[in-house]
């Protein structure tokens, strides 16, 4: 067991974990933060994308021990006091989700993009999301949503 301290969505947790514990299982099974889902075992689908120390990562390909001392933001930590982020609103308004399983990862990947490129082209959006698979939407409305959010004044 290895002792870790991780701040997740604003709360600091201290735990003893097996070194092999994946960050996504730590979030889901240990902390009960099941907003972040798992879609594959090869880091292709991106459903489990979260933010670790300010950048997007696939939490199925990070060990919980690697996040020790770090700060994690999940989809559950995006809205503050019930106030949705511009991206969350845009996903709703542009119908960028159907079953919603890929949505947490898409939101986190899109947020990462907008932090680096606040005004991306559609081509840049498509490439920035290439590590996040969606089976329902054909992506077009996801691209529209990210573009709409990028046109907002407030940060994503």
């Amino acid at each position: 067991m290895t002792h870790i301290s991780v701040k997740v969505d604003g709360t600091t947790y201290e735990d003893d974990v097996e070194p092999r514990l994946l960050l996504v299982h730590y979030l889901r099974d240990r902390l009960g933060l099941s907003g972040t889902p798992i879609g594959c075992d090869t880091s292709n689908c991106g459903a489990c994308t979260v933010e670790l120390d300010g950048v997007s990562v696939k939490s199925c390909s990070v060990l919980a021990v690697q996040a020790d001392g770090g700060e994690v933001t999940t989809v559950e930590g995006l809205a503050r006091d019930g106030e949705l982020t511009a991206l969350q609103r845009a996903f709703h308004e542009k119908h960028a989700l159907q079953c919603g399983y890929c949505t947490p990862g898409m939101l986190m990947a899109a947020r990462d993009l907008l932090r680096e490129h606040p005004h991306p082209t559609t081509d840049e959006i498509r490439h920035a999301l290439e590590g996040n698979l969606c089976r329902c939407t054909g992506y077009q409305n996801i691209v529209r949503a990210v573009q709409a959010a990028s046109e907002q004044e407030v940060p994503a």
């Binding site: 889902p37 075992d41 308004e93 919603g100 290439e130 077009q140």
Partner: protein, 790 residues
């Protein structure tokens, strides 16, 4: 009294009620469910395609830390029946026994052989490796044609054959005589590769038993909680009234969750055995083996026509890969296609035969479109070939053969009565949006210049049949279930509304759309409607969600139930207003007496009056709630025209979709935003079949494309923007005028893309490219055509 002003809800692009939870992570996927004492189940699967099971020893697993129980297939065999096939398409179909977990023989790589139950998923995964199994290899059966040979090894040796069934459909004139008078005949062979549906949420099951009373709750990532309850009761022997099935949030299905799976039965059996709650969640690569695949057919198709381009007849011989076992509707999938090969075209003869074949691969079953994409692909591909043969533009050839809008209702050669449609209008609109003539000019220019990058244009004018019904037709097709759907509307005392539906959404937006339908009829605000679904206790009756049936059947049931509520409320309102029912008007949720607009009651007031029941008409049952079950008279037949322009790099074989335009006619539309989303996603999956995806097996029967790194699901960077428009020809088979839309895009798009690629390369001598049209296949086609010419 407040004035209620409710705009027409149906037809509005209402934002979805479903989204709020999904965009904030407040979800309830099956794997999220946790209860006290929950144990995790892991499943050991066969590493071989075909083998006899010798000794299985689970005891080393039991010695591992955290392990509560471990069972082999034979340990669980007592009390587990065969998994059901609900669609035995012929009387003499070969129906093999299908144990939920293999007992003495494994028949595909991934067939389950043993399970471990442990404190957490890590311990369960570790203990799996300790189980010892001796396999005695048997020969795999992989080639559909070779499997039918006399001397082929058998998948099910007790059945004496790999031929599952032969299903014929011959209508109109005799095809042979039509062929004789035809001036042109063309014969082609097309391959429908195996596909893995890839719903983003892997399958998962949680069982919570209550040993004292023998009650079980099964949470399952399923499209069909109602069917699952009936079937699981039959398989496990748990009485139906003691079994509750819940489909919590379900992350996509596309047919892959339209099944009665061994894992659900095994989880129930294990929970019954140990008396504790059990969870199983498949990993993606496990799902690639364990969850059914789609497609997997060889299509021999022959078309007979006149020189002027009049199609005279069609002959189709199918070989359909069943895989190792018959799942819920495995044999029926190609039969759904049988009716669609003639598509939108008029002809005199149709001769169809499908042979189902067992192989030692993961079973096949419904995947988005189920039979209809295959049929549409074959007919739309050969129509293009015929156009070339006759020197006609492919659109013109279609024009000469399709059913004209004034000919509806029209009974197709396959015996379906298409109620409505306007192929001319959809096609004209699509051609305009696509700028067809300009693209043709560019194509000619590139051909003339001998450009390395060629341009091709693909046409697909499809129709499909969805909302399987009525039930008696399903009986004639030997389908085990009915085609009805149920809805109940509960008017709550405070005027809010609960719609209880038997459909089971997993991304389609039923909560939003059913709210729109109910709000319109009841005249209540959209926000005041909640939709209850996916729980056999809360929504006890239903036939669930598949085959683009939900709106046309389930939505219609909601409509009818709401109409019944209004009629009941009218009686109460008339009584309260001391007026005759005939003198009441009902607008926007308000009953008013004709001529005295001040005498009025809102439907919410009526709901409360009914709740108190202080002053109801004599003899009236104290409720305005209503239930309605609908069994439609006919299928619904969406149609449309899809046009695709593809650039092909003839040097590398790389393809690039330059533009994609479609005009779909799905009848009246409840929510255009949702319809557009369904079309987008459908097109994407159809393109994925054309270009990227294939479940590849090696000669030993191992799945080579066994992870998401090898099975290429396209990303945003791989797909273009789609231009989607609609025409609107209402269905006549339901009061909403709606047709299904869930599968249309997938059915239409695959042939549009492949037609475009072949069209680009035809000047180089290429006639066909097998799917997926990988760069290497395109390159090889170009090269062999070049060699053939020189």
């Amino acid at each position: 009294m407040t004035d209620q002003i409710v705009e027409g809800e149906v037809g509005r692009a209402r934002l979805r009620k479903e989204d709020a939870r999904l965009i904030t992570g407040q979800t309830n996927w099956t794997d999220n469910i946790s209860v006290n004492g929950l144990l995790h189940m892991s499943i050991l699967r066969s590493p071989m395609a075909h083998a006899r099971i010798g000794r299985i020893d689970v005891s080393p697993a039991l010695a591992r830390p955290g392990v509560v129980a471990a069972f082999s297939g034979s340990d669980l065999a007592d009390g587990l029946g065969s998994l059901p096939c609900a669609w035995p398409v012929t009387e003499d179909i070969v129906l093999p026994d299908h144990p939920p977990i293999a007992v003495d023989e494994v028949r595909y790589a991934g067939d389950p052989v043993a399970v471990v139950v442990a404190r957490d998923r890590y311990a369960a995964a570790d203990a799996l490796e300790a189980i010892e199994v001796d396999y005695e290899p048997l020969p795999p059966v992989l080639d559909l044609e070779a499997a039918l040979a006399e001397d082929s090894p058998l998948v099910h040796s007790d059945k004496g054959t790999n031929r599952c069934y032969v299903w014929p459909l011959k209508t109109g004139e005799d095809f042979d005589s039509v062929r004789q008078r035809a001036e042109v005949t063309l014969k082609r062979r097309y391959h429908q590769q195996r596909l893995i549906p890839n719903a983003m949420e892997p399958r998962a099951v949680v069982v919570t038993p209550l040993p004292a009373s023998g009650e079980y709750t099964l949470y399952s990532a399923t499209q069909i909680p109602h069917v699952l309850r009936v079937m699981m009761s039959l398989v496990t022997g748990i009485p139906e009234h003691k079994l509750r099935v819940i489909a919590p949030d379900v992350g996509g299905g596309f047919g892959s969750k339209l099944n009665v799976c061994g894992e659900d039965a095994v989880a129930l059996a294990v929970a019954r055995r140990i008396g504790r709650p059990v969870k199983w969640t498949e990993s993606r690569s496990e799902g690639y083996l364990a969850t059914h695949h789609g497609r997997g057919m060889i299509q021999d198709i022959e078309i007979a026509a006149t020189r002027e381009g009049k199609v005279l007849g069609l002959k189709v011989d199918l070989l359909a890969d069943m895989g190792a076992y018959l799942m819920l509707v495995t044999p029926g999938v190609p039969i759904l296609g049988a009716f669609m090969y003639p598509a939108i075209y008029k002809m005199d003869a149709y001769d169809f035969t499908c042979t189902g074949v067992f192989t030692t691969r993961t079973p096949t079953d419904a995947y988005r479109g189920a039979g209809r994409p295959e049929a549409t692909f074959a007919i739309e591909r050969i129509m293009d070939e015929l156009a070339v043969e006759l020197g006609l533009d492919p659109v013109e050839l279609r024009r000469r053969n399709w059913i004209r809008h004034e000919e509806f209702p029209y009974t197709s050669i396959a015996g379906l009565t298409y109620d409505s449609g306007n192929y001319e209008a959809a096609t004209e609109k699509a051609l305009g949006l696509f700028d067809y003539d300009k693209l043709r000019a560019e194509q000619a220019d590139r051909n003339h210049r001998g450009d390395t990058v060629r341009l091709g244009i693909g046409v697909s004018t499809y129709t499909e049949m969805c909302g399987l019904a009525p039930s008696r037709v399903l009986r004639d097709l030997r389908y085990g279930a009915g085609g009805w759907e149920a809805a109940t509307i509960r008017m709550l005392p405070t005027g809010k509304v609960e719609v209880v539906t038997g459909t089971s959404p997993h991304g389609q937006g039923h909560v939003t759309c059913w709210s729109q339908i109910a709000a319109d009829v009841l005249g209540v605000p959209f926000e005041d409607v909640e939709v209850v679904h996916g729980d056999t206790k809360a929504a006890p009756q239903g036939m669930d969600t598949y085959g683009s049936r939900s709106l046309v059947v389930g939505g219609t049931a909601v409509h009818h139930a709401a109409v019944k509520v209004v009629e009941k409320a009218r009686k109460v309102a008339a009584h309260l207003l001391e007026a005759s029912e005939n003198d009441l008007e009902f607008t926007n949720g308000v009953f008013s007496v004709k001529g005295s607009p001040d005498a009025r009651r809102t439907i919410q007031e009526v709901a409360f009056e009914t709740f108190s029941s202080h002053d109801l008409p004599d003899g009236m049952e104290p409720t305005i709630n209503a239930e309605h079950l609908v069994d439609p008279d006919n299928f619904s037949y969406p149609h449309g025209t899809h046009l695709c322009a593809v650039e092909v790099d003839t040097e590398t074989g790389q393809t690039h979709i330059r533009s994609y335009v479609c005009v779909d006619d799905v009848g009246k539309v409840v929510n255009p935003m949702i319809v557009e989303g369904q079309v987008h996603g459908g097109i994407a999956q159809g393109i994925a079949q054309a270009l990227y995806e294939e479940a590849v097996y090696d000669d030993d029967g191992n799945l080579v494309s066994g992870t998401m790194a090898d099975y290429l699901v396209p990303s945003a960077a791989d797909l273009p923007d789609f231009v989607t428009e609609r025409t609107e020809t209402p269905a006549t088979s339901n009061p909403l005028g709606v047709k299904g839309v869930g599968e249309a895009g997938t059915i239409a798009s695959t042939p549009a893309v492949v037609n475009a690629i072949v069209d680009a390369l035809r000047p180089l001598g290429v006639q066909d490219i097998r799917m997926p049209c990988t760069p290497e296949r395109v390159w090889r086609a170009v090269r062999s055509a070049k060699e053939a010419r020189s």
